[in-house]
């Protein structure tokens, strides 16, 4: 683990919205090839941190670097071209495009050299098959279920050929069977060599998939470690997981 290369690195990452400290002095390192979990109560600054990484908000202080590129000051599309794909928490499908076309957008623009629509479509078929969505490829996104939309988000990010995938609560709103299926998909993506940073409230998924987990609370990092360490961390139990979880888990 110590000889793995850090693919994403944050030093003193801070985001202020006026007087509100959404993210404050957070340091982290994501190693190449790992699944890195990001948990914490609502409003802890998890999504803000992802927004800082993908360039939606500019940093107030600190520095984020990805594969030796400083991300500070880069626009969202430049960061996407470096190889960071993103699935949103609240599904942001492109209305008016079919499921397949949505994924195609990820493929066409994710890397600067794939602007051919016809070639792209056959590539997209493979990605859709991978997330088991090929049966609904012609559907309008408004006609699909929430589970399908989440898969579509994932497929769209995956079609960008990212080195790093940012997943924002892809499990939310899914039933148990769907969660299990999606966990397998995420593991398979990771096996392909793609590093993953995932925000998740579904503890089963976080504990089952992540190699390391960072816990945010009120914008600050309160813990960072393996799932076992996190599950037994008193601060985390107090602020987020609750007593019952640690008892269940320690059994």
């Amino acid at each position: 683990m110590s000889n793995a290369r850090a693919i994403l690195k944050g030093v003193g990452v801070t985001k202020l919205f006026g007087g509100l400290r959404a993210v404050e002095d957070v340091d982290f390192q994501v190693e190449e090839g790992e699944v890195f979990g990001l948990i914490g109560p609502n409003g802890a600054g998890k999504t803000t941190l992802l927004n800082l990484i993908s360039g939606i908000y500019p940093l107030s202080r600190g520095e984020i670097s990805f594969c030796d590129h400083r991300l500070n000051g880069l626009k969202a599309h430049q960061i996407a071209h470096l190889g960071i794909g993103r699935a949103f928490q609240i599904v942001r499908a492109f209305e008016g495009l079919s499921v397949m076309e949505n994924v195609l957008v990820g493929h066409l623009f994710g890397s600067p050299k794939s602007r051919n629509v016809r070639k792209g479509l056959s590539e997209v078929e493979k990605v859709l098959a991978f997330v088991k969505l090929e049966a609904k490829k012609k559907f309008r996104t408004s006609e699909t279920t929430i589970g399908d939309k989440k898969r579509m988000e994932l497929a769209r990010a995956l079609a960008m050929h990212p080195k790093l995938l940012l997943l924002d609560e892809v499990m939310a709103g899914l039933n148990h069977r769907e969660i299990d299926e999606l966990m397998d998909v995420i593991r398979a993506i990771n096996h392909m060599g793609i590093t993953i940073v995932m925000i998740e409230h579904v503890m089963k998924a976080v504990m089952g998939v992540c190699k390391r987990i960072m816990v945010l609370h009120h914008g600050r990092r309160i813990a960072l470690g393996t799932p076992m360490e996190i599950a037994n961390n008193q601060d985390v139990i107090k602020s987020y997981l609750g007593e019952r979880f640690s008892q269940l888990n320690l059994k």
């Binding site: 996407a80 495009l97 957008v105 066409l108």
Partner: protein
């Protein structure tokens, strides 16, 4: 399924070719009046399609798009009257001038969103109108009189008919190309969610600028052609807000973000307008408004939504349910 689809596609191609052939021979058989009506329809089809590229595909509601129309018509007028250039170079200059101008103003103004962009374009149009009105080089408030097309009214009818027709085919071709290429996907993504689009690797600025530049190119050329056709142009005629609104009516009616929808919409509105206008001058806008309301309620995707579908009442009731306030 796919066989039926391809058969249907072939049918559309045949219909398209038949209409094309009909329109090519039509001016040799119709009376001058109807040739001019058709030319007018083509003109609005070009304008509606141009708006469709920036507003329908890219989601930027350029209500003041007629500013390029005015600009194109003034470029042609000034070049022909003041510099004595022949029509075709002036016509090309009208397109290119509008295109370049759209890029120059687009870079700052396309940063505005939704209604702010809309207002900005209208402001820009009024600004140009005032400039044109107040400098003598453009003839001031009196306007400019262009040279009349040589060869008599019959030849003029045919000439402008085919110029408009050719330009319409060009803009439809351009839209078809856009819809099939990565440009179309970029435009639609920007329209739907600009921020998500940029996270997917789309740099919105160049794409928005390209969309508006294409729109301006065709609108400007149309304006130039119109000025020569009417052989007179003044600031009020060149920079009108009413045709801008009509273009949106046509686009929405026919089906925005589709290739052929705005053309259908333009033909439909102009045809109805022509029929109604002669008989009920006072209420003809009322009737057009009523048609628009009905279409928006029953077929929010526009007239093109009817094509290739069997009539099912439940579909239209669904339209009402989804679109009621």
């Amino acid at each position: 399924m796919s066989e039926r689809e391809s058969r249907r596609r072939r049918l559309y191609v045949y219909i398209g070719l038949a209409v094309f052939a009909l329109l090519v021979v039509a001016p040799f058989f119709l009376r001058g009046y109807w040739v001019r009506v058709l030319t007018n329809m083509f003109m609005f089809a070009i304008l509606a399609e141009s708006v469709n590229i920036i507003a329908g595909y890219c989601g930027y509601l350029a209500l003041g798009n007629m500013l390029f129309f005015g600009m194109g018509s003034y470029i042609v007028a000034v070049l022909m009257v003041k510099l004595g250039l022949p029509f075709f170079p002036a016509f090309i200059a009208a397109g290119l001038g509008s295109c370049v101008f759209s890029v120059l103003v687009g870079l700052p103004i396309l940063r505005l969103k939704s209604q702010y962009f809309l207002t900005g374009t209208v402001g820009l149009m009024k600004l140009l109108e005032e400039i044109v009105r107040n400098i003598t080089f453009t003839g001031g408030g009196q306007g400019l009189t262009l040279p009349i097309f040589p060869g008599g009214p019959q030849a003029a009818n045919i000439f402008f008919y085919f110029c408009m027709f050719g330009l319409m085919m060009a803009v439809v071709g351009a839209t078809l190309f856009i819809s099939k290429s990565h440009l179309g996907y970029a435009f639609l993504s920007i329209k739907s969610d600009e921020q998500a689009a940029s996270v997917m690797g789309i740099n919105p600025t160049p794409y928005k600028t390209i969309a508006w530049a294409i729109s301006a190119l065709f609108t400007g050329m149309t304006g130039g052609l119109y000025a020569y056709w009417m052989s007179y142009i003044d600031p009020v005629e060149a920079f009108q807000i009413a045709p801008s609104i009509k273009m949106y009516l046509m686009m929405t009616l026919g089906g925005s973000a589709t290739v052929i929808g705005p053309v259908l919409g333009a033909f439909f509105v102009e045809f109805i307008s022509e029929l109604v206008w002669g008989r009920f001058l006072e209420i003809h806008f009322l009737i057009l408004g009523l048609i628009l309301v009905l279409v928006v309620i029953f077929a929010p995707k526009g007239l093109i939504g009817f094509v290739g579908k069997r009539f099912k009442l439940s579909d239209y009731l669904k339209g009402i349910r989804q679109n009621r306030v």
